[in-house]
């Protein structure tokens, strides 16, 4: 650059700004209203991944962000490119994923005239983003980018969209990247109130049957170690949410695993019997608590969250602490007294034994059941793989049977429950973690929603191992139809292609497994492939996810795993 500040066009300003935000990869698709952006992109040292559908760009950026902890970035053109991002944006926002979405827009001179590929994407995304910008003057662009990255990545992370009209991309101005942001209405509250933290410690010290609930807030804040210290010091069992699953090593004896609708009986019983619940970075959503008024009826509730609006939103809270999980736990741990909770832990162990005895893994079955498949992938990867799931039964089987040992090791769509998330998210994870095995556990339904990305996987040489739990149904809905809708399988049976052959057509190693004996060797073979691989597991078609809590029932009124020779048990009493 000859003179400073240099005169740059909008496209250059965007990429210069992204470099200063340490962006190393973009996921996107080009189009008419972003050509000026792409014209300049080639001059910048930013990896660019061309996907096959913009939804995948958002999911890939989302997966990248969850795996790396950095802000993910996706790019799309105006109109349909922008609207195709919407599902991915909503998905990331629901799970507090830091994401910046960049869209092209019709020229400012055409705005509002329904010009070709014009859509009001800032208006459309308003309810599903943390914030968004329509930049109508190139002089505002650098400031908007600076603010966008700050807002997306700080406090409770979320999505910020920047909509850039095509003429703004071409117009020039002097470029100087702002060094700070001035947002009088945005001041994340990162440190908890000392008095409240002290009070929380006192409540924990007095509790007889305490339970910690760890959510994604622990993962976002990087407070895994502090959570473990807290749990170990006072011997408090930890229940995780789906998105909090990697907050504590799942082989840790105090980790009771995921609670809620598909939580193990011992896990849910612990919450329902607790006299103190300490929720950390968890939003007590309906999949965890079922009907809020039936949740943990004996417990006083301490809620630690960086977002004040989450406190008291669904469950009544006795003690709120607004702050970042890491900061709050650092202050809380020294105030909590060592404890043993011998009776309480013994009670939980008894429940655990009962749960264990019903586990299908230890029952004799010759069928190819999905639990066995996930268990074998877990064995083959030592619990250390980056696991990505789709949504539905496959997701719950992964959550129940893969015991994660790696922080950030589970990437899954929690809040929005977006089928089709798995494969594109795995691409972002593979980019973020090139040295770690990446497995995507998907169903045949969700896989068929975004399987066009197999081409991206090959083009970008992403060594993702895809395990399809193929039952020929939209399985979770079929399960609900079986259990709650008199077996009326309307809309759930689905055909699929020969997935192994499809993989081969894309140049991906693929195989089909139809019986239990071949699971271990297929997993080993896929693992050994230098590059992507796909295994089509033709699992027992009408296998269900148990336990399951019927909607709005208390979480201990669950339908438990069937015992051989008895069938389903009735919802348990008490």
């Amino acid at each position: 650059m000859a003179s400073y500040p240099a005169r740059l066009n909008g496209a250059q300003i965007l990429w210069e700004s992204l470099l200063r935000e340490n962006v190393e990869v973009l996921f996107g698709i080009t189009g008419g209203k972003v050509i000026p952006l792409y014209h300049e992109l080639a001059n910048y040292p930013i990896r660019y991944v061309t996907v096959r559908h913009e939804q995948a760009a958002a999911h890939a950026a989302d997966g990248y962000a969850r795996a790396s902890g950095k802000v993910g970035v996706c790019v799309a053109t105006s109109g349909p490119g922008a609207t195709n991002l919407v599902t991915g944006i909503a998905n990331a926002q629901m799970d507090s994923v830091p994401l910046v979405a960049i869209t092209g827009q019709a020229s400012t001179t055409d705005l509002g005239s329904d010009s070709f590929q014009e859509v009001d994407i800032t208006g459309i995304t308003m309810p599903i983003v943390k914030h968004n910008y329509l930049v109508t003057d190139v002089r505002d662009l650098a400031q908007a980018v600076k603010e966008a990255f700050y807002i997306a990545g700080s406090g409770r992370p979320g999505v910020v969209l920047i909509d850039i009209p095509v003429d703004v991309q071409r117009s020039q101005t002097e470029f100087e990247y702002p060094t700070e942001v001035n947002l009088p209405g945005y001041k994340p509250h990162l440190y908890g109130n000392g008095r409240q933290i002290k009070q929380a410690a006192e409540m924990m010290n007095a509790a007889q049957r305490p339970v910690l609930i760890a959510g994604r807030g622990i993962v976002i804040a990087g407070a895994e170690r502090e959570l473990r210290e807290l749990a170990e010091k006072a011997q408090i069992p930890v229940v995780t949410t789906l998105l909090g699953k990697t907050a504590l090593d799942e082989t840790h004896p105090l980790n009771l695993g995921m609670g809620g609708m598909h939580g193990e009986a011992c896990t849910n019983l612990a919450m329902q019997s607790a006299d103190l619940i300490v929720g950390i970075g968890a939003r007590f959503d309906d999949r965890l608590t079922s009907a809020a008024k039936t949740f943990a009826p004996q417990a006083r509730v301490v809620h630690i969250d960086v977002d004040p609006a989450e406190i008291g939103k669904r469950v009544r809270v006795d003690l709120p602490i607004v702050g970042d999980a890491l900061n709050v736990l650092r202050e809380l741990v020294p105030l909590v007294k060592p404890a043993i909770h011998e009776k309480w832990l013994a009670q939980i162990e008894e429940w655990r034994g009962d749960t264990h005895s019903r586990d299908i893994l230890w029952q004799e079955t010759d069928e190819l059941v999905p639990q066995f498949v996930v268990h074998q992938i877990w064995e083959a990867t030592g619990g250390e793989a980056m696991m990505v799931t789709d949504v539905g039964q496959n997701q719950m089987w992964e959550a129940q049977y893969y015991r994660h040992r790696r922080p950030r090791g589970l990437i899954t769509s929690g809040g929005l429950g977006t089928m089709g998330f798995g494969v594109p998210a795995a691409m972002g994870v593979a980019v973020a973690c090139p040295d770690c095995p990446v497995w995507a556990i998907v169903g045949d339904g969700g896989f068929q929603m975004t399987l066009q990305e197999l081409a991206t996987i090959v083009q970008e040489r992403l060594p993702i191992k895809i395990a399809i739990l193929n039952n020929g149904y939209l399985g979770m809905v079929r399960q609900w139809q079986e259990l709650f809708f008199s077996g009326n399988y309307c809309g759930t049976p689905i055909l699929g292609p020969d997935f192994a052959k499809l993989a081969e057509a894309y140049g991906i190693w693929g195989t089909t497994v139809s019986d239990k004996e071949h699971v271990v060797e297929a997993v080993a073979a896929a693992k050994a492939v230098d590059g992507p691989a796909l295994i089509d597991f033709r699992i027992e078609r009408e296998h269900n996810v148990f336990p399951i809590v019927p909607v709005d029932e208390p979480i201990d009124k669950m339908i438990r795993r069937p015992v051989p020779g008895v069938g389903y048990n009735a919802p348990r009493e008490g």
């Binding site: 800032t122 208006g123 308003m126 309810p127 943390k130 914030h131 329509l134 807002i151 947002l183 009088p184 209405g185 945005y186 977002d307 004040p308 609006a309 008291g312 939103k313």
Partner: protein, 191 residues
């Protein structure tokens, strides 16, 4: 920027009834300050719609600070709902300050323009009504009069009900604006 929005769903004081969280429903007045940026009003309106909040009136205009708009919103709900409205408003990046002024001593005003049928024989009576309410006649034509009134909603409601028998041709109400009495302010600064 200015806008007013009024819903008629909440009939006059029908007494408190319990909300879904057990505490009684009440009418709260919130004052929010926000940066005067494009789209800020739709962000706020969007929030109320999306979160299913029951808004009785909302009015926006300039505040004493250039670049900062002031919104007065009357929301109906139990304590938990009102607390959520406040917190969710705060989550909007452009919203800088939210104050629940319901329990403070406040001055509360609404402005209404009412165009009423006024045959020559009725003009005097309408003028007298306006005088009682200290309202102004701001326009007159052969068969109509336009009245400007400022006051609490109750006062405006009363005048409206008195004028109705003559036939109201057109009416515009601003919705409530509120300000805390004395030196203290809703913007966190004391004067």
């Amino acid at each position: 920027m200015s806008m007013a929005l009024q819903g008629g769903e909440w009939a006059d004081e029908s007494g408190p009834e319990p909300g879904k969280n057990g505490s009684p429903l009440s009418r709260r007045t919130l004052v929010a300050l926000m940066e005067d940026r494009p789209g800020v009003l739709s962000r706020v309106a969007n929030l109320f719609r999306r979160r299913n909040y029951n808004i009785e009136s909302l009015s926006v205009g300039h505040s004493e600070t250039p670049g900062i708009s002031r919104m007065t919103v009357v929301v109906c709900g139990d304590d938990a709902v009102v607390e959520q409205v406040t917190k969710q408003l705060y989550k909007l990046i452009n919203v800088t300050k939210v104050t629940d002024v319901s329990d403070d001593a406040t001055v509360v005003r609404e402005l209404a323009l009412i165009k009423v049928h006024a045959a020559p024989a009725n003009r005097l009576e309408i003028k007298q009504l306006a005088d009682i309410f200290r309202a102004q006649i701001i326009d007159i034509s052969r068969d109509s009069m336009t009245i400007e009134i400022t006051g609490t909603e109750d006062k405006v409601d009363s005048l409206v009900s008195m004028l109705r028998p003559f036939g109201i041709k057109e009416m515009a109400r601003t919705g409530r604006v509120a300000m805390v009495r004395g030196a203290g302010g809703s913007n966190g600064a004391s004067a």
